[in-house]
Amino acid sequence: MKKALSLMLALVMVLALAACGGGTQPATTTQQPDSGSASTSTGSGTSTASASASGAFKFGASGPLTGDAAIYGKAVMNAAQIAVDEINAKGGIQIEFNPQDDEADGEKAVNAYNTLMDWGMQVMVGPVTTGSAIAASAVAYNDRTFCLTPSASSTDVTANKDNMFQLCFTDPNQGTGSADYIAANMAGHKIAVIYRNDDAYSQGIRDTFVKEAAAKGLQVVYEGTFTKDTQTDFSVQLGKAQSEGADLLYLPIYYQPASVILQQAKSMNYAPIFFGVDGMDGILTMEGFDTSLAEGVMLLTPFAADADNDMTKAFVAEYQKRYGETPNQFAADGYDVVYVLYNALTASGCTPDMSSAEICEKLIAEIQKTTYNGLTGENMTWSANGEVSKMPTAVVIKDGVYVSA
């Protein structure tokens, strides 16, 4: 009896593990309706072979679809899906798209990556957030899987990994970019910085900004910090900044805390120039936010949803039609990533029956020759270290819309 019981227990545990391996199989079939009706695949392939038998490239993606950062992951996946559907509708190269949830957590990102590899992923879109991207890219580097991340901005994502490329600005780029911009256009101001010191993104930009500001002789009079748990009240930091006489407030933070800062600064009659980076993007579409507060806010961003070109207009219209909201910069990044990959795959003559490692080598060579014009910038090029080169544009908010500064 006891032996039977122990055997049963052992079996349960083994099955639990096996169930997980098997659990990825249905993903192929259930994914089918999502990944565009143009696809002719019928949930093919064994879980280990990376070559696709269906004549379609398998694009995997991972990003936070649940949890705190879900807004970013969903924006990327929604926009990437639009791009995939457009490409599939053209005929020619077909793409199957499989977005997986990684909860913006490195551990889950590796799980999501492994699940996608079982599915037969050939090229990866993502991971969306920095921590996930660093964790998954180490595995992807060993496997030789090509990854183009839409928005993981830390230099650690691409460092020493020739298969990782970024579509967004790196954190140092944004920090030095904004310091250079301020030095060139608003040099005489006293600067205060408020940043979140338990967040890789915010801390990273602040570090490079302060370094470059010192090099350019800018005067940083105050630095205030906050954490995830204290991002609802900034009266102390704002009061300090005001008493130090700062007339330019640099905010390398996301838009939710920034909206609180704008609100509180107004109520204490403190009106410096507010200067944000790409995390500030989205503040105008934030629910319940009085856009008049953002009047005169400057930010560096690669994408403005009301930009006056046909590509942006078509994309924004389609996004609004499908998901009922205005796309943010993350969505635009996701859309561009799919097109950059599509162009590189076409140009390098890759075919869907090639393995992910073969495609990886071809794409690494091809992307460095690519010049791409997309939603998030003109004449984007990539260097061997994985970073994109494109011009950051400063915009200022006037009457609730972005205007070039």
């Binding site: 639990a16 169930a19 391996g21 098997g22 921590g131 595995v139 801390q203 370094k211």
Partner: protein, 353 residues
Amino acid sequence: MKNLKPHTRRNLITFIGLAVVWIVVTVLRGQGVLGRSASGLLVPICCYVVMALSLNLTVGIMGELSLGHAGFMGIGAFTGIIVSQSLMRAVPSVPLRLIAAMLVGAVFAGIFGFLIGIPVLRLRGDYLAIVTLAFGEIIKELITCLLVGVDEHGLHIIFNYKGLKGVEDLHLSETGQVIIKGAQGATGTQPIATFNAGMILIFLTLFIILNVIYSRTGRAIMAIRDNRIAAESVGIEITRHKMIAFVMSAAMAGAAGALYGLNYSNLVAAKFDFNTSILVLVFVVLGGLGNMRGSIIAAVLLYVLPEALRSMHDYRMLIYAVVLIAVMLATNSPIAQSFFARFRFGRKGGDEE
């Protein structure tokens, strides 16, 4: 087997079951039957099993609710990473470095367990739970302030409590490498954790815990749990025995943390927050308080479940929650209990595993 004591027999079965799983999984991996996603789950599963076992010592055997267990895991993880990365040049052998990392992780977590235990273990019940929760959060915040780098002159450590210092303040030489970058966590760690190391750690943990439980100390700890006043009246030192259990529990969590930290090339302190503590507590409660075998099974099943549910897409976490509630209800219902009781002939003896 018949002439063994009931609890010895039951424990032997647990060990044999584990060994069988180990062999079966190794064989399956060797033949490539196990997919990548399943293989990738093996090490984190081992870590969470050890976490569940060690927390069960505090919650199940000692009878005190600890909500800061992830903090000890965090200490183990980051000290383990520092040890492994800084010994990279001196000790090229990967298994040796892994062992060193897990040992140091365990020792540091144990020391912190002792320090935290001094004030905490004088409390009881809800108060103890809340204070451990606070310490867990404090540990997380402290790690967030750490800047650590290594070069040929040794370790450089800055405690960046104002958040105004950066990596360049470490003054590393040309060949130096940054190990922990404050809020950005440990990046560029060489992932050296293996499934075999995880299984060995599980065996060790289980062996130590079971031996303690059936020792004089273990009986004293359980006596305190069951009736504090009676235990005190027969001369059992309450705080000392609680401390033994608490420090052991912390040290094992530290070893699990070191293994966990060395499985990923990127790790942030925010990972070891309240949610992770609760996750492990759920494993323990679901597996049964004081029931080591139950903890192992619950940790495996509940860790695999969200991954196995990936095909459900948006409903994944919803279904996970529903399953959790259903299992909790089912295991507590009298009908289910009487059903399972039929398979429990070995249980007539002592009730503690």
